[in-house]
Point group: C2
């Protein structure tokens, strides 16, 4: 059975009873697994991680909308994290036996139903969007809920589905399909923040680096170390080993070496396998040579 992941973000992170009730509603849907959920009070935002096939996932996301729209009113919502909607963003991610095309179809199907059933305008993003100006979540969300009515009235910002004005209390929602994201940090053997910042600039898309890398330099004050903190947004096209090797080479310019790296949260197995294949120079490797994959097949 194909597995698609969805990671809906909602604008509620201070009332555990509301978040728990939504989690419970999701758990009731057969064929959907709630892998994780967590709230951030200062962001006033919660993130759910769901997995399942397309049909039950759609059902779960609609249930999440129903509960969230009843409970969250953006007109009185405050929090540090930028947001456009009560249900702010809903990505679908292909994991196993599912293609990106299927996730795009699912995103559009859910978007259409959300607009129809709840009267919330929906913007498609990432792979689900055909409009280059509306692929990046940050571009769509710029102006936030408070600026939404004005933005929607601007040319080029009619939503993909639903009404052409914001939902009174729920704003708008961004729904789309993307590759699994890898949060990856590299700690440098130095306390020099400027080195981390220069390396980050060298490797990230926005300043001329790799297409699917977002990066920033930080200082880990408690360890007195500089860190290159990254999001790898498409590990197939910009693989983790190429990023690592480039950071290593750039660091050498400043006489700095890599102390260690760190995967934050989850990583798809294929990203690790790709690194093993690269470094071990394995030719002609096929995923069904992995014992565990063979055991799953029939």
């Amino acid at each position: 059975m194909p597995i698609i992941e969805s990671i809906p973000n909602i604008s509620e992170g201070r009332r555990p009873e509301v978040v728990n009730a939504i989690a419970a509603a999701i758990r009731e849907i057969p064929g959907v697994r709630l892998l994780d959920f967590s709230s951030d009070a200062s962001h006033n935002r919660s993130v759910f991680t769901l997995a399942g096939d397309a049909a039950p996932l759609k059902e779960a996301i609609l249930r999440l909308f129903e509960h969230t729209l009843r409970e969250v009113d953006l007109r009185v919502h405050e929090g540090e994290h930028p947001r456009l909607g009560a249900v702010d963003v809903v990505p679908f991610v292909p994991i196993e036996g599912a293609t990106m095309d299927e996730c795009v179809r699912l995103a559009k199907d859910v978007a259409s139903e959300v607009a129809r059933r709840f009267g919330v305008p929906v913007y498609l993003y990432e792979e689900a969007s055909a409009n280059p100006a509306r692929k990046n979540l940050e571009d769509i969300r710029r102006g936030e809920f408070e600026g939404l009515a004005a933005k929607m009235a601007t040319e080029g910002w009619a939503p993909d589905f639903g009404p052409s004005t914001p939902h009174e209390s729920a704003g708008a929602t961004v729904i789309g399909a993307r590759m699994p994201l890898i949060a990856y940090n590299i700690n440098l053997n130095t306390d020099r923040l400027d080195v981390a910042k220069k390396i980050a600039a060298a490797i990230r898309q926005s300043s001329g680096g790799f297409r699917y890398v977002k990066a920033a330099g930080f200082k880990l004050e408690d360890r007195n170390l500089a860190q290159v903190s990254m999001n790898l947004t498409n590990y197939e096209k910009t693989p983790i080993f190429r990023v690592f090797e480039t950071v290593k080479r750039e660091a050498e310019r400043y006489g700095v070496s890599i102390l260690e790296s760190e995967i934050v949260g989850l990583i798809p197995a294929a990203a690790l396998h790709g690194a093993a294949e690269y470094y071990l120079q394995i030719a002609g490797f096929k995923p069904d040579q992995i014992l565990e994959n063979k055991l799953k097949g029939d």
Copy 2:
């Protein structure tokens, strides 16, 4: 549910009807999956790959004995591959959620039942054997079926289970537990067989190299390349990346580089993950950070 693998080798590879009947008998056991089976006519030998939990695996191996003992008579058996028994060797391998201790217990349990039910003497090997002289399959099998009666009469060669003389038509069987074996080849950017042989000698246990490496140098005549061909018998203790890096360094002595490497057959996912962790210098990585593992859990 824990998964144990078993790879019984039988001394019959020329009568497909016999081998197919054994495969069919294995497939009838609920809880056991027959992942693969293949025969070699010149070896006159067949290899089955089964996976399942301990109890159904035991049932399947006993069924395999029953069929094989009825059909195979070593007194009239010829083939290139060394063999001691009609059922020659039965390893049990921990794969998922199963420990080596469980595999050792299963090996002893099956060995005891084989001796009791079929009157076949059984030698334990690898992790199931407490006797250093009787850990290696090659040591136990030396002399083969034809020399078995004399060997069993020698001090130190009483079997672990069953009668102290060979079974008339089925000889003896070697049963044990071991780690998954990785068949791994490295092709060198040279046609010099002597370089491959020197590198093989440098890395293999038998001539002073790594504890869990067997290796030999070969010439790939059709590609005019030298190859270091290896079996890695414990990838946890002698990891694939360390072997690769050592081969690379040894090759440099002769001005030779690595063209490519090759995994023959199956490799446990953890061996690939270990290589990715090593090369990417990932600190504090946990298996449950792999998305697919998370999806399997609950």
